[in-house]
Amino acid sequence: MNQGMKIVKEIAQVADRDDFYTRAKTLGEIASKAFGKRHRSQMTSLENIANSTLKVTDVLDFIKKQFAKSKPNENWRKEDFGIELQKYIEQSLRKRREEICHVLEGVEEKSADGQRVYLSLIREFVRQLVIHYEYRTSGGEPDGSDNGAGPGNLYVE
C-alpha cells in the first residue's frame, strides 16, 4: 500500500471514532442554532475553504475572522461556536495528526505529508459537522431520533 492510501486509511479510522463523530455532531447542532437556514452560506464557505486550501491556517484565519465579525451571542459567537471549533482543530486534531504520523512510520509532523494528514482530518471533520448542521436545520432531532419530518425517513431500511 502506498503512502497516500495509508494516510486515507488512517484518516478514515480516526473519523470513525466516537469522539470525532460526537464532537462534529455537537458543533453541527450549535451551528444550526447559530446560523439557521438563513446564514447557510457561512457553513458552505467553511466547507469550501477547508476543501480547497493548501494551508491549515487558512481555515483557522477564516474562523477567527468570522468570529471577530459576529455580534455577541450570534453566528460564530453563539455558544462559543467559533472558539470551540478553533480549539478542536488546533488541539484535538493536531493530536490526531501526531498519532497518525506516529503510526505511519517515517512521516514527520512538519512535513508535506504531515500537513496533508492535518488538512485531511480538518476536511473530514468539517464535512461531518456540516452534515449534522444540514440535518438539524432540516428538522432532524438533536438526539438522532426522527420526528417524522426530518430526512431520517429517507433512509428506512
Binding site: 493548501l54 494551508k55 491549515v56 491556517t57 483557522l60 484565519d61 477567527k64 475572522k65 468570529f67 471577530a68 459576529s70 455577541p72 459567537r77 472558539i83 512538519k110 512535513s111 508535506a112 500537513q115 492535518y118
Partner: protein, 146 residues
C-alpha cells in the same frame, strides 16, 4: 518571477508553521486594542493588498513618523518592521534565492528584487495571520469585559 510547485509547498509549510506561530506570539506581545485599532489593521491589510514589498514599508514608515503615533503604536510598527525585514533572510535560508559572490551591481539589484518578491509572499501570509489573530483576541477580550 515564477514560483515553482515546490516553492508553493514550502510557503504553505512556513505559513502553517513558524509564520503562524510567530504571528500569534507577536499579538500576545504587542496586544494593545485601544491603540492598534481595527482601522489601523485595515490600513495594513490594504498596504499588503498592493502586492508590493516596498509599499508595506512605506505604510509602516508613515505610521512611525506620524506625530500622533503613541509609544505603543511605535513599538508595534517597529517590531513588525523588524520581523518583516527578517523574512528577507528567511527567503535565502530556505534557498528560494541564492546570492552568489562577485556579482555586478545590476545583478545584485536583480537578486535583491527577487528576494523582496519572495519575502512579500511570506509577509502576506504572516500579516493575514496577524490581523486574524489580533481581531480575534480583541473580540475575545470584549466578550470577557462585557
Amino acid at each position: 518571477m515564477e514560483v515553482t510547485t515546490e516553492q508553493v509547498q514550502e510557503i504553505c509549510m512556513l505559513s502553517d508553521g513558524e509564520l503562524y506561530e510567530n504571528a500569534v506570539d507577536f499579538v500576545k506581545t504587542y496586544y494593545s486594542p485601544q491603540k492598534v485599532s481595527k482601522t489601523q489593521l485595515s490600513g495594513l491589510q490594504n498596504a499588503v493588498g498592493a502586492s508590493d514589498w516596498n509599499e508595506i514599508f512605506r505604510y509602516i514608515d508613515n505610521r512611525l513618523t506620524r506625530s500622533t503615533t503613541t509609544k505603543e503604536l511605535e513599538n508595534f510598527y517597529q517590531a513588525l518592521k523588524d520581523y518583516l525585514n527578517s523574512l528577507r533572510d528567511k527567503v535565502q535560508e530556505v534557498n528560494f534565492v541564492v546570492k552568489s559572490k562577485n556579482t555586478t551591481r545590476a545583478e545584485d539589484r536583480q537578486v535583491n528584487k527577487t528576494i523582496d518578491q519572495y519575502a512579500y509572499l511570506l509577509a502576506k501570509e504572516y500579516i493575514q495571520h496577524l490581523i486574524a489573530e489580533y481581531n480575534y483576541q480583541r473580540t475575545l477580550k470584549d466578550a470577557r469585559d462585557a
